[in-house]
Symmetry: C2
Subunit: 341 residues, 2 copies
């Protein structure tokens, strides 16, 4: 059995169903340890069974001591999970060889369980509802509101007055700001006919949702991706191209194909329409406890797609100084096809 150490909050939560903001989880054979400080140790003892709770002000120093005490010879760790300073402290353990295991937890989490699928579906359903709520806000109050205000309002809808956490800080980008895939909110205001890109999600029982929609502003604005009509033929062409690229990518997703084949399906549509160089990112990413998980759906990803992987399909076209369009949904890999959540 592999001995391993985890520090990342979601990685630890996945192992034992509890985590806080200062902890180490270790497993040696059948022994499992949860090290945390006095702020959280009582709650950890209440919630965890079959795991030794160890209290310490310095959880990494304590981990090194436990490794020495148990004479552990080999331990897997994720080099992305520890800073150089933390790892130096950990290496004080006397007998341990530390075996680098990049993405150790994320690899374990790539196939979702039935329970996880249920939670993610609920996150997506609630996220879609929040998009509808936000569309309602835009129709009634959005005119002349700026991006900063709209990010705030969008986050409010996602959180539903405190019921849910955000998956990430929402993006609300108008016209040329939508041409930046990671736009920071500005004072740019919504006008009739503004193109608005919204990328947002929420967490339900710690599992993330993620969705992007684009719409042109009017008092009948909706985020239904099938109902978008644009005044300019260029916007309409770009939008329709992105939508077709998303459809093709979703159709290309089958158990057994490589992730890069899904990316290629989207990229081909966009290239054929003459916008190849304006699709500047990869087609998708896994979603679960982290907003970005495995598999990576990119031109270089050799990952074989399997049943019950959950990932985004989100092609985009970004025309600098003009506007950008991205359409993003999450899909679950079913036995024969990708099901949009």
């Amino acid at each position: 059995m592999t001995n391993y150490i985890l520090k990342d909050e979601n990685a630890v939560y996945y192992e034992c169903g509890f985590s806080c903001d200062n902890e180490i989880f270790m497993q040696f054979g059948s022994d499992r340890f949860f090290i945390t400080d006095g702020r959280y140790s009582i709650e950890a003892k209440e919630k965890l069974r079959g795991i030794k709770i160890v209290e310490s002000r310095d959880v990494i120093k304590k981990a090194a001591e436990l490794l020495t005490e148990h004479k552990i010879k080999k331990l897997h760790y994720d080099p992305n999970d520890f800073t150089v300073a933390e790892f130096e402290k950990l290496k004080a353990s006397k007998y341990t060889y530390f075996e680098p295991a990049p993405a150790f937890s994320q690899k374990k989490r790539i196939i979702k369980s039935n329970r996880e699928i249920k939670l993610i579906k609920e996150a997506v359903r609630l996220g879609a509802e929040a998009f509808d709520q936000f569309a309602g806000h835009l129709r009634r109050y959005g005119l002349n509101q700026n991006e900063k205000r709209l990010v705030y309002e969008c986050a409010a809808k996602m959180q539903n007055y405190g019921d849910f956490a955000l998956s990430f800080e929402p993006i609300v980008a108008i016209n040329e700001n939508a041409a930046k895939p990671h736009a920071l909110p500005t004072d740019t205001e919504v006008k009739i006919g503004s193109l608005i890109l919204v990328d947002a999600g929420l967490k339900y029982e710690r599992y993330c949702s993620d969705r992007t929609r684009v719409a042109e502003y009017s008092n009948s604005l909706t985020f239904d991706k099938k109902k978008q009509r644009f005044l300019s033929s260029k916007r309409q062409k770009v939008y329709d191209t992105v939508r077709k690229a998303q459809e093709k990518a979703i159709k290309a997703a089958k158990p057994g194909v490589k992730a890069c084949d899904i990316d290629r399906a989207a990229r081909e549509v966009i290239e054929k329409a003459g916008y190849g160089k304006y699709f500047v990112h990869s087609t998708g990413h896994g979603v679960g406890l982290d907003i970005h998980e495995l598999p990576v759906i990119s031109a270089k990803s050799e990952t074989i797609i399997e049943e019950n992987m959950i990932f985004t399909v989100e092609p985009g076209i970004y025309l600098p100084g003009e506007f950008g369009v991205r359409i993003e949904d999450m899909v679950r890999m079913a036995p024969t096809r990708a099901v949009v959540l």
Copy 2:
């Protein structure tokens, strides 16, 4: 001149007045480099003068290449600023010895400039206004609202509908939940006479504010720390003790004293009142671009206090299963005394 590398967003912002969420800053002698990806390089070029902007999809690999190209022999880095995986990549540079420099940037930032003091003062002023707004919300609508909802409402007041970012996720804790210094919000509801602890702050032009108040719920609730009256004599005694501890600590702060002397001043008051073992954290921390900066105001901190350091003074008493009280303000070290911001 020291050669150094920085990755932390606030550390980089401090050097050059711009940062994004994927960047490396390096200085060799008089050469300065800002490495970022295509999403941010245009903005970086617009905003930065006298700094070479280098675009790369892999900013750390590119940093290693530049180190090799410039035959850099020695480079200071903060081992808290890089993961093991990142540092491995950086070490691909051929000629460089990496000198660990823990808290490299935070040490540079410990004394605040006049400009920084102005911005922090404004952050504190706006934060105090938001506390008043939140008190208004509580008086009008707070009865029977739960902690989760109140965290949301408190965050809304701090953000002022999108004008400001949060310094951190606010804490709103009722009765026994206030006995946990880092309480996570629950479904516990506010009732008449509930003790409510609120710890919150906002960022103004990237500089943080931080404040904690405790009040007993009524329809005349205020967060004025001088006006708190409690129904039970135990609550009143604990509150008055914490307030006196804060006053003594603020009086003890003078240029030339050690940080631990400030901590001791607070701790003595609480120990004398018989609550010594319920003051489970240190007395304060520096605040600036990061919410937690130097100096550390703790029992062990030998840091000599100097003019224009800015830090919190926040003693607390936490009675498990009952309630907790913490009172927190930010102070600036003036030539002869600490001035509450």
